[in-house]
Point group: D2
Chain length 139, copies 4
């Protein structure tokens, strides 16, 4: 994923929200797709699956929202900040919830400990992007 900056930087017309902050959010979202998809699967296979249902369900939602967010951010040309903005809000919210639920299980499940960390990284990257100047004009 070290190529994300170069890829989006090569799109004609530029990246209104800023290359570095967008590339960081894309990479964080794709990491979250990975960790949340695996965490949801691992939850099912645990002996205490009964306690892991919320975690599994939230991680699936998190993976799907992060996937869509990564895709839209990966298309700087013909993009619409008024779509990106609420999508990032949805992303921050579900990543926060997944991180909090994973945190409850982190002491006894390694996949939750890692997934919590990855989700928090995604919250940070998307929140940083929501703070981009280009969004200020939307309000």
């Amino acid at each position: 994923m070290t190529d994300t900056n170069e890829m989006i930087g090569a799109v004609p017309g530029g990246v209104p929200l800023g290359v570095d902050v967008v590339a960081a959010a894309i990479d964080a979202c794709l990491s979250c797709v990975q960790s949340c998809t695996t965490c949801a699967n691992a939850d099912l296979a645990e002996d205490d699956v009964v306690e892991m249902r919320t975690c599994s369900a939230q991680c699936l939602n998190c993976a799907d929202v992060c996937d869509a967010t990564a895709r839209l951010l990966s298309r700087p040309a013909y993009s619409d900040l008024a779509v990106i903005h609420p999508l990032l809000q949805a992303c921050v919210r579900i990543c926060t919830s997944s991180a909090e639920e994973c945190a409850r299980h982190a002491p006894h499940h390694v996949h939750c400990a890692i997934c919590e960390m990855v989700c928090r990284g995604c919250v940070e990257a998307c929140a940083a992007l929501l703070g981009a100047e280009a969004f200020a004009a939307l309000q």
Copy 2:
């Protein structure tokens, strides 16, 4: 897709936003995934591709947001209205843009004429869902 009502109606715990309005939004989103994916592909193959780039790019974003929205709405158990709400807002916005761009090309491209109609149906279904009482408590 006639089974969507029955499917989500069978999920333990019920559907806080209402079975019928959620099922309608899911079906509208999945129709939009189909029409927008095809419209974006057809745009590329048209003689006037130079005029169709915005349409192609917007339809791709529309398909991805509608896909994520359909998936989250299809999971009533352990769902979070505070994620669904901004996701529906993103969905209404991108579907509106796609419908408007398709409308410009509808007179000369049948796929745009159909896609415009499908996108407008999705705007309507998602807007109806945003009006659900359960969301009022979020504000």
Copy 3:
């Protein structure tokens, strides 16, 4: 989804595998995305979640493969039969497995009964497409 035939029929260059059989497979795949996504979620919320883990996991894989299949079939222009063929094989296999697993739980879970039927419909539609003459030349 009644517009799928018209949409793909409007793509310049035509549909090498045949409009009707491709449209039927797209619609069947998208129905499967819906039912499998909901079934996997409902499984988590059931009292007998311990017995439903295989069903939940398989339905998630089924939804993702059907989603990709629906998307590739929705792009007749610049398409490659040598990609579509193994993708349809993967789709038939996972839909068959999901149908069989759902069948085991159909007597006591309505969502599994419906999902089994939808998965079987998708197997049929994709198998019909795999029988298309255009694929014969690939072998």
Copy 4:
């Protein structure tokens, strides 16, 4: 994405195809989702869009197949090699085609040069996985 090995290694029941080779394929697929999504978008915005249509269309198919492949590989529990095998074949084929088409444009478009390299990396990682011993029993 440095956490993929640890994530899948933490799933109860182990990873039949091998942790390292699966993690490498997941990471390669997600990189491909990123580069192909951006390349398809950049193609639309180029002055020579007429020459870039095949590239744009193939990259979209590549992103969708890689996305599904990454998701299924990220779920080692309750997984089915007979689904994974044709999916990897589809993935190798579309990544090879995208790499070849990008190669034609690499001299004048940086995004194609990077995307070619990422697609070739994905071909290699998926081909390595197809060579895993666990698949031998399938034949």
